[in-house]
Structure formats: C-alpha cells, structure tokens
C-alpha cells in the first residue's frame, strides 16, 4: 500500500464521517451475533481436556508398590529454573533408593519438560494439569503428597512419550 496516500480524507467516506450511520451498523452487527450459536466454555465447570502432547505441571508416576522415582536427582540437576529438590534415602525395596523428600516449586517451574526428558526411570512426566492456584509462596511448593499421580491417569502422556520421544 502506498503510505503517502493514506490520508484522513482518503480513508473515510462521507457516510463514515457523519458517524451516526456507522453506529447503527455496529449495533446491527452485535444484534446479529446474539442469535448465532455460542462457543463459550463454561470454565471451570467445563474443563478443556488437553492431548497427550500437552505440558502441564510435572508430576511423579505412582505405581502399586510406590513411586517409580529412585531419587537420582537428575531432574533437579537439569532443571533450568532450579525448581526441584530431591532428598534420597534407602529403602528395602529392590530399587534401593527412594525420594524421602521431593518438592517442586511451581513458582520457579517454567514447564520446559526437561525433567521428564532426563529422567532415567520415566518417573516424572508432564501432566494435563494446567490450572494451578496458590494463595501463598509456601503453597506453591508441591510435596510428594501433591506430586504423586497414579499411572492410570497418565496413560496419554506415557503413550505420547513412547511414540514420539
């Protein structure tokens, strides 16, 4: 477009300049939309269910005999935001070590998914959980109680990782 021609005079027609007919046209448009079907989702009653490829908050995979995590600390090492703290301890189980403490600071987490990528046990994965609300900084540090999620609820993501990673 030639910018030099874009003067006020050229942009506005006479009808536009007198203003009122345009108001009426705008109201008409609104009226027309009111009788069309709506696309509004009644969130939070109606939640959007993301696909397996979605990166929501990272969670720990829980199986019948406990978490998969062996507290290797690799996720804590790779996390660019230093959101993860892991403290290991010994268990009688075959895997020998388990996380005595596992915390993710969701105020630090940037949902990059590196923790999931580095985990040698497929023990931390990105869930579909996206609506996180906290009322204090302490609340935002999620411990094992909030992080552990049964493996059945994570099938989509695990399937996605198996196919595409």
């Amino acid at each position: 477009m030639n910018v030099t021609k874009n003067t006020e005079k050229e942009r506005m027609t006479f009808w536009e300049k007198i203003y009122l007919p345009e108001i009426a046209r705008g109201l008409g448009l609104t009226l027309k939309q009111m009788f069309k079907p709506t696309f509004v989702r009644q969130y939070p009653e109606e939640r959007w269910e993301p696909l397996g490829s979605y990166r929501g908050r990272p969670v720990l995979v829980l199986e019948e005999d406990g978490e998969r995590c062996v507290a290797c600390g690799l996720c804590a090492r790779v996390c660019p935001a230093l959101a993860i703290e892991v403290r290991a301890s010994e268990t009688e189980q075959e895997k020998e070590r388990y996380p005595m403490l596992f915390e993710i600071n969701m105020l630090r987490c940037i949902y990059c998914g590196f923790c999931e990528e580095v985990c040698p046990e497929e023990a931390i994965v990105m869930s579909k959980d996206y609506d996180l609300v906290f009322t204090s900084t302490e609340d935002a540090v999620l411990g094992k109680d909030k992080l552990l999620m049964p493996v059945e609820q994570l099938q989509d993501r695990l399937e996605f990782l198996r196919r595409w990673r």
């Binding site: 703290e85 010994e90 895997k95 020998e96 630090r108 040698p120 046990e121």
Partner: protein, 590 residues
C-alpha cells in the same frame, strides 16, 4: 635415563619404571582401572592396553632409519598393558592411534556386558571411572543381547563398607589395599569367570581402621559407605579442602557440603602426610559435631539462665567480668584443637592484655589410638602449633596440670576457656562450678557451657580458615567449607550450583547460617575492650602477623602453604620438590 615417546611427546623416566608410571609422572593419563600408584600391579583389567613399538634394528645392530632420518618403529605384534610393561630407551607408546582405541573400546564393551548400569542410584556416579571412560574411550554401544548375569547388590563387607557385586569390575584394588596397606588379609575373589565376586573369608569381617579408603579406591560404585549411602549426589555437594582434626597426623581431606550441612569427608592426596588415605574414625566422627548440638549464638548468664545476646553485649560482659580480677587470678585455657591463628591471638591476649602468664592447654593423649600407618596417640590436631605460637605454659604461670588444685584452693577465680570441653576429666568439670567467672568459646553445648557465665559461639574447623601443625611439624592450611554469618561468601569458598543460585525463598537454600565467629575474632573483640588494638579482618591477616613474629613460621603464607601442600616449621625456604599428584578421577564436579 631412558627416553620414551608417548603420543609424540618425549619424556624421560628412570629405568625400571612401567609405562604408566612414567606417563603419570609427566602428567599424561593412560586410562586404567586396576593400577594404583601405591598398590602392587595386578594387570587384570586390561584397560591400559597400548600400542608399543621399539626402533627397528638392522642385522648389524644399528637402528634402521626412514629416508628422513627418523628411526623405523617396529610395533609389538600384541598390545601391551602399560601398567606392567617396563620402559626401554627409545620406546614409542601410542595412546590415541586406531589400534589402541579399538582395544580400549573392546575392553569397555566387555566390562559393561554384565554391568547393571544403575548409575541413577549409584553413589559413585559423577566420580566413576567407568562413566568417565564411557565418555572418553568407548563408542557406547553393546552388541551383547543375552540377559545380564545378576549378583547380590547389598553385601556388607564390614561395619562401614557395603559391596555391590553387580557393579564390581573385579579390578582387585580393594583386595590389594586390604592386604598391602590396611594389612588385614580378609578379602578375596570367589567363584570363576563372570560369576566372580569379592567376599570376606568365612568368619571374618573387613573392619580395618582404614576400610573406608576402598570406597574411593574402587574405580566404580561397587563399594559404598554405609554411613553416607544416598545422602547426596556428588554434584550437589561443594568440596573444600580441609584438615582432619581427629589426631595429630592432620590428614588432608575434602569436606562435602550440601544445604550447609556436612555430608561426608573424603581423603585428599598429600604424599607427605596421609598419601591417599585417612582413617575411618576421622571420616566418621569428625563431622557430626559440626552439624548438630551447636551453640547458636553468644549468651550470657542472667539470673542463673543463659540468655542470647548480641556479640557486642557478650564482649562487653566478658570484658567487665575480667576487669574485676587481678592478673594472677585469671587462667586462660588455650586449645590444641584450635588453629595457630586462634592460639596466637589468645596467647597475645593473655600475656599482653590480661598480663598473666597463667596460660596452658590440655593434651588429649590416647595411646590405644595410635597405629603404624597414620593414627597418632595425640588426639588433637594442633598441640605442636599451640605451643609454638606461645599458647603453652612458659613455666612462669599456672600450668594445666596445676589448674585443678588452684581452682580448688581459690587462687584462680576466673577462667577463660577456648574450645576445650574437659570431657576427659570429671574432676575438672566438677571444679568449674567453683570458679567465680567462667568465659568460654564453644562450638557445641557441653558441660563447660552449662557452667559458663559468658558463652561465645565459636566456629568449628569446618567454618574457619587457619593452620595446624601436625606430628611431622608440617604447617597445613585448611579452608572454611560451611557458611556462617561471619564468613558468608567472602572467603573464596567453592560452591555447588545450588549454593550459587539458591535464594532466601528456596527451602533447600535455607540451610542454617550460624551466628558463630572464629576464635581469633572473638579474642580480638574482647581484647579491644580491655585496651587491645587489633584490627585483623581475616585469618590470613592473623597468620601473616604470626609469621612475622613467630620465628618457626617465618616466610610462610597461605598461598605458599597451599602451593606446597604444607611446609615444615623452620623450613619455609626449602620445601620438598613438587611432584605430579595422582588423581584417580578427573571429572569430579565442584
């Protein structure tokens, strides 16, 4: 001396040396697992295979030459292990040619056939030779499809060492260590070929006082510390150089710290003192008192109760109490557990500020502790240094042996104690109730602090900078490893990634920063209220003053001590010649 060429680099070494020894001495690392400079040669891991050649001889005995004049090299038909092949003049060793690389890769592939690859749970990960060489000398592929052979993963070899048979690469370093260094002949290989594992003979256990050295010695994670197991990963800890305060040997060690708590102690090589080792007692007992039961802040006694006060208040209280007594009524107890800097300041404080000759320190002798390798009967790290710096008795005042009687007779009324707990003597502890004024520097709560009128929260060796003089008269420098409010980030401490980037909002970065001070600093605070005029900013300042005034330390600085790994008293100008220090692991982080 024979000349050999390693990887194109000409080096000289004395005859009779093996290739790997000659290379290590000139700073060239040949990959190896089973060889260790202080153990006999086993030659069983084959990782050190190298392509070795000699100049070709013509039938008449002369050296055949290429057109350009260089000798024609004839390579041995079979590769040689560098750890068991003696050098010969003119020898050529190839470390990075095709043949050597193929051999190294093949050895790695064999070693990993049955290896569980459980690095995620292995304490060695990060300092593991097998990991290291997987990066540098292996293509990282296995062609072996059969299931791995499984072995026991948690076998206690002794009270302190846990054995994982699957991870073991059967290098026999631990067995040779037990036989040759610890001289406890209890370890052996059992079974044959890929079923082999290390075990103790029936009815005995590997409980040598030096057993835990096998943990670092083991090139993989097969031997782990039962005390440390899984406490932290190597890269999560910072490692600062320190000196074990467990006895007067003064073994060099590194302090592994995470969340401002000591997680483990491990030996640091110093060929003049402890070589590669330290005793189990040192590494198991010399950190707990840093982590727990600490005196949190300065306190003074009000209405029979110890109440926390600010440093200035505590200094003032101590100074006011001391002013009440005649010089001869005060006794200053210095400490063979405190550094030269601390004792030097305290001695000056006693003689110049308090004008008393009543100063001495107790000895902590335990003949049963001594052995022929490292441990000494003197259970304090610095009794030599305490007397050299003037903190011992000069025969003109009350000495420690007579202190008890003088307290009981009432001629000593005030006691100024630096870091001694009198735990060996019940009479002494009981007598503390009889002194009118008891001022103590203490890092831990004990019987002395319970009776004290003023308690200064003192730094432990792990939070202070300073020097000790060991049993060989060697002055050794140690650095702070644990952060306090006093030394916070001012002393060039090594820090892990978590230490560096943690903020006050991160729970893991909130490891306690204790409100304690180094002894020399506390002495300075009290002395300056009693007419002293000292303005030392760091232990290094104190040491340079000390080196200036105390003849045996003449010429010493922290920098020189670090450079030479310690200097002998009176001999700062003639240190031992420096040698390459053998390091088993080269990729250790932090």
């Amino acid at each position: 001396m024979p000349q050999i060429t390693i990887d194109g680099k000409r080096i000289e070494a004395s005859a009779g040396k093996t290739i790997i020894e000659a290379a290590t001495e000139s700073g060239i690392m040949i990959p190896h697992f089973c060889w260790h400079p202080s153990l006999s040669v086993a030659g069983n891991c084959r990782m050190c295979l190298v392509n070795v050649g000699m100049p070709k001889r013509a039938p008449d005995g002369s050296t055949e030459r290429n057109p350009d004049g260089s000798p024609v090299i004839q390579y041995a038909p079979k590769m040689q292990i560098a750890c068991a092949t003696p050098i010969a003049d003119g020898m050529v060793v190839e470390l990075s040619d095709k043949r050597t690389e193929t051999a190294q890769n093949a050895v790695m592939e064999f070693l990993l056939i049955n290896h569980p690859l459980d690095c995620p749970i292995c304490d060695e990960a990060g300092t593991c030779k097998l990991q290291e060489y997987s990066f540098t000398h292996s293509v990282g592929k296995s062609r072996f499809d059969d299931p791995k052979w499984h072995k026991d993963k948690r076998v206690p070899l002794g009270p302190n060492v846990m054995y994982d048979a699957e991870r073991c690469i059967l290098c026999s370093r631990c067995i040779r260590f037990a036989d040759e260094v610890a001289e406890q002949h209890v370890l052996t290989f059992v079974e044959r070929n890929d079923h082999v594992y290390v075990d103790t003979f029936p009815g005995v256990t590997f409980d040598s006082q030096y057993s835990m050295n096998t943990i670092e010695l083991c090139p993989v994670g097969a031997l782990t510390s039962r005390d440390f197991r899984f406490k932290a990963r190597v890269w999560e800890m910072s490692f600062n150089d320190s000196i074990c305060p467990g006895c007067s040997r003064g073994c060099n060690m590194q302090i592994g710290v995470r969340d401002n708590q000591i997680q483990r102690l491990e030996p640091q090589t110093n060929m003049h003192v402890n070589q590669y080792w330290m005793c189990d007692h040192g590494r198991l007992t010399q950190y707990d008192f840093v982590n727990t039961n600490r005196v949190q802040e300065p306190m003074i006694r009000r209405d029979g109760q110890l109440v926390p006060v600010s440093w200035d208040e505590a200094y003032k209280a101590a100074a006011n109490l001391l002013k009440r007594y005649k010089h001869s009524e005060i006794m200053v107890v210095s400490s063979s557990r405190a550094s030269n800097e601390d004792n030097y300041m305290l001695a000056n404080f006693a003689r110049k500020t308090l004008k008393t000759e009543n100063i001495d320190f107790p000895l902590h002798t335990d003949e049963s502790f001594a052995d022929s390798l490292l441990r000494t009967a003197d259970r304090s790290p610095n009794s030599r240094g305490a007397s050299e710096t003037g903190a011992g008795n000069s025969r003109r005042g009350v000495d420690f042996a007579h202190l008890l009687a003088r307290i009981n007779s009432g001629s000593i009324k005030a006691l100024y104690v630096m870091c001694e707990d009198f735990a060996e003597s019940a009479e002494m502890t009981a007598a503390l109730g009889k002194v009118e004024t008891l001022i103590v520097h203490a890092s831990n709560n004990n019987a002395v602090t319970a009776a004290a009128h003023v308690v200064f929260a003192a730094s432990t060796y792990a939070e202070a900078g300073g020097t000790y003089v060991n049993v060989q008269k060697r002055v050794q420098h140690f650095r702070p490893a644990v952060v306090t409010q006093e030394n916070s980030r001012t002393t060039g401490m090594k820090m892990s990634r978590w230490d560096k980037f943690g903020t006050q909002y991160d729970r893991w970065a909130q490891g306690e920063r204790r409100n304690c001070r180094q002894n020399w600093n506390i002495v300075q605070g009290v002395a300056n209220l009693l007419g002293g005029d000292w303005h030392f900013k760091s232990s290094e300042d104190v040491f340079s003053d000390l080196a200036h005034h105390v003849a045996p330390f003449k010429g010493m600085t922290y920098e020189l001590l670090d450079e030479h790994q310690g200097l002998i008293l009176d001999r700062a100008d003639s240190p031992e010649p420096k040698k390459e220090v053998y390091k088993s692991f080269t990729m250790k982080p932090n």
